[in-house]
């Protein structure tokens, strides 16, 4: 009440902006920035971070502490050691083999498995969006529809294809790569099946997402480039690719993280061969064999999340909007 008494008398038309109807983003921003919304977001963030915090703390506790008491008792009885990490990285008394080679396997799988589908998807998306050809819409919807197929359904047929080859009647689609006189395919123990599988599984969504972005680039830009004498390939390389960086980067992050965290595809196509198994397979193995060694599993898990975190923070600036500002008016 006293506050009201001190308020300046307000003229009816103090703020001309007040009468203007809010745009939708403005309204959304105002609603989301209310104190209550902020409070709820903070609470949710805190709750969702607790398990990760527990993971981090457990990984830093000495073996005996970690096995005998919950991680929260750490605050009453703090004791920090890095020996868990040392053991997981290089191998030690409990676990003979360290995570390091698997860590590099993960990179060797995830980087090409992100680059291949991106390259193919960008070109396919450009063609579907900007090259006039018969049935282009049908092809696009066909690709889009492929997303309905769960990848689990394709695992065994794919595995069979890699091992035995695949032919439609007399026409070979994928050659039988078995070494003469051997039970093993040439592809066994290589990253190639993993790359191919991840690329195939990623393509429908990648084409769909990037197509939608590329199709929204201004038509005039493409036409200006055509009149300037550019071929489709030049338009793609000089105009479309640079302008699609936000879409490409966000899909690259998405795909890299997906492959990095994937266990199912890795187990199916590289399960039996430690030479090519990724970190996830290593962790699953450690979990199965040394399930009681909580301090080691958590340390391994933490090493595995470091990379996704770095990738995310390094590339998040590419999510910026407004790259198209100034190109066409209006």
């Amino acid at each position: 009440m006293s506050v009201e008494a001190h308020e300046m008398p307000r003229l009816p038309d103090v703020d001309p902006l007040e009468d203007k109807p809010e745009s939708i983003p403005q309204a959304a921003r105002r609603k989301l920035s209310s104190p209550w919304a902020s409070f709820i977001v903070v609470v949710i963030t805190f709750l969702w971070t607790i398990p990760t915090l527990g993971l981090l703390i457990t990984s830093l506790r000495p073996a005996a502490d970690a096995q005998n008491s919950g991680w929260w008792t750490f605050f009453a009885n703090p004791a920090v050691t890095f020996s868990n990490y040392a053991e997981v990285i290089t191998g030690g008394d409990t676990i003979p083999s360290g995570i390091t080679p698997y860590f590099f396997n993960s990179f060797a799988i995830a980087i090409p498995a992100a680059i291949f589908p991106l390259t193919l998807a960008c070109m396919a998306a450009y063609a579907l969006a900007w090259v006039r050809f018969k049935w282009s819409t049908a092809v696009f919807f066909g690709i889009f529809a492929l997303q309905v197929v769960p990848l689990q359904m394709a695992l065994l047929p794919l595995l069979q294809m890699f091992n035995l080859g695949w032919s439609l009647g007399p026409i070979p689609i994928f050659p039988d790569l078995n070494r003469p006189g051997s039970e093993q395919s040439l592809l066994a123990g290589t990253y190639i099946p993993l790359w191919i599988a991840h690329t195939m599984f990623a393509l429908p969504l990648a084409i769909f997402l990037i197509h939608n972005f590329i199709a929204q680039l201004p038509r005039d830009l493409m036409e200006a480039a055509r009149v300037d004498g550019a071929s489709h390939f030049l338009i793609f390389r000089k105009i479309v690719l640079p302008l699609s960086v936000p879409a490409i980067a966000s899909f690259a992050i998405f795909q890299f993280l997906w492959v990095w965290n994937d266990l199912l595809v890795a187990l199916t196509f590289a399960g039996g061969t430690p030479d090519v198994a990724p970190v996830t397979a290593y962790l699953a193995n450690v979990k199965g064999t040394y399930g009681a060694q909580l301090h080691l599993i958590t340390a391994g898990a933490f090493i595995a999340i470091v990379v996704p975190l770095i990738v995310f923070f390094a590339l998040q600036r590419y999510f910026v909007r407004g790259l198209l500002a100034g190109s066409v008016k209006g």
Partner: protein, 358 residues
């Protein structure tokens, strides 16, 4: 470098439609000529330009640039430069890179590119902005960059698709004269599309008026104004537009409201069906003591001119709006009854194309 352009019976029917967007267009554009395509929206002027650019397929007919039939030549191989309505600058390239883009594709040597870009920039007053990105430029500067991108090409033909419509009124008038002067200097054949008849009249060597995909008339601005082929061209060219009054033929003339306008017998004989449309330009309609009675509805004072708008009852009882330009500086007021007499008149048929009789 500059080449003439010829549209030879060109038509375009979009798939899934029956009415052609452009129908049997025949147009010869001389070497170095500045031709303006003008018409209301949807008349096919932009479509015609895009067909010349190779951005729209052609259903029938041929387009020639010089002696070369480019009907089936891809846009990138036509050696034309185009300025788009919204400029279509490459947003991720600097002004210099925007202008050099086409030259790099043509594999022009780096020194040559530098020289030509610098020349064009100097010509367009862009030298200090060469390293900027388009988003850091004002509308007028972007427009000039778009022009520069076309100029450095030294193409056979310039195409401009309403390049001034995104500028504010004052800048538009300024840029209009700059573009016209630039074109005279470069002497490159230019096809310019606009919906603004003032732009068309002030810039073009010749103006082609289109309506519903059909070419109505192509002539010099003066001739279009003085000798329009039909009522559409007559009303489209000129501002305010020509007054059109439905009239009936009666003894040696026509009745404009309650005023008898005498017309030569030989001309009257050409009128089909006893009715016609009388056309009078606002500047030829004078306020006077006698003449057709008009009730004033609006008076526009523009300083140099005063336009008097009013309603006049025709002989068969309909109301027609008229505009008269008054130079007396003693303009009537709203609601006044005044008399107007036409000094110079046109007569159009009262059917189909409303073709001009005289």
């Amino acid at each position: 470098m500059s080449q003439p352009v010829r549209f030879d019976d060109v038509s375009l029917v979009y798939p899934g439609t029956t009415d052609p967007a452009v129908s049997h267009l025949n147009l010869d554009i001389g070497e170095g000529e500045f031709l303006v395509l003008v018409g209301p929206s949807g008349c096919g002027k932009s479509t015609s330009l895009r067909m010349l650019a190779g951005l729209e397929p052609i259903s029938a007919g041929h387009i020639y640039i010089g002696d070369r039939d480019v009907t089936n030549v891809a846009a990138k191989d036509r050696d034309i430069a185009m300025v788009f309505q919204n400029y279509a600058l490459y947003p991720h390239m600097s002004v210099a890179e925007n202008m050099a883009f086409a030259l790099k594709i043509q594999k022009v040597s780096k020194d040559d590119i530098d020289r030509r870009v610098k020349e064009a920039a100097a010509l367009l007053d862009l030298t200090e902005y060469l390293e900027r990105k388009p988003k850091a430029l004002s509308g007028g500067q972007r427009q000039r960059v778009a022009m520069g991108r076309a100029i450095v090409r030294e193409p056979q033909v310039f195409l401009m698709d309403e390049p001034l419509s995104n500028l504010d009124a004052k800048l538009r008038v300024q840029t209009r004269t700059q573009i016209a002067a630039l074109q005279r200097r470069l002497g490159t054949t230019t096809v310019y599309v606009t919906h603004d008849q003032v732009e068309a009249m002030t810039m073009g060597d010749r103006v082609a008026v289109l309506k519903d995909g059909l070419l109505q008339q192509v002539d010099s601005p003066r001739a279009l104004y003085d000798e329009p082929t039909n009522a559409f061209v007559a009303t489209f060219i000129g501002s305010p537009s020509m007054n059109i009054v439905p009239v009936t033929v009666s003894d040696g003339g026509v009745m404009m409201g309650d005023h008898h306008v005498p017309i030569e017998r030989s001309l009257l004989d050409k009128v089909r069906g006893g009715t016609a449309q009388l056309g009078v330009r606002p500047e030829d309609l004078h306020l006077s003591d006698t003449g057709a009675t008009m009730t004033v509805t609006l008076v526009e004072e523009l300083g140099a001119d005063t336009f008097v708008y009013g309603d006049m009852a025709t002989a068969d009882g309909r109301d027609v709006s008229l505009v008269a330009r008054d130079r007396s500086h003693a303009a009537p007021r709203m609601g006044d009854k005044v008399h107007v007499t036409p000094e110079r008149t046109y007569l159009f048929q009262d059917d189909g194309d409303a073709e001009r009789i005289f």
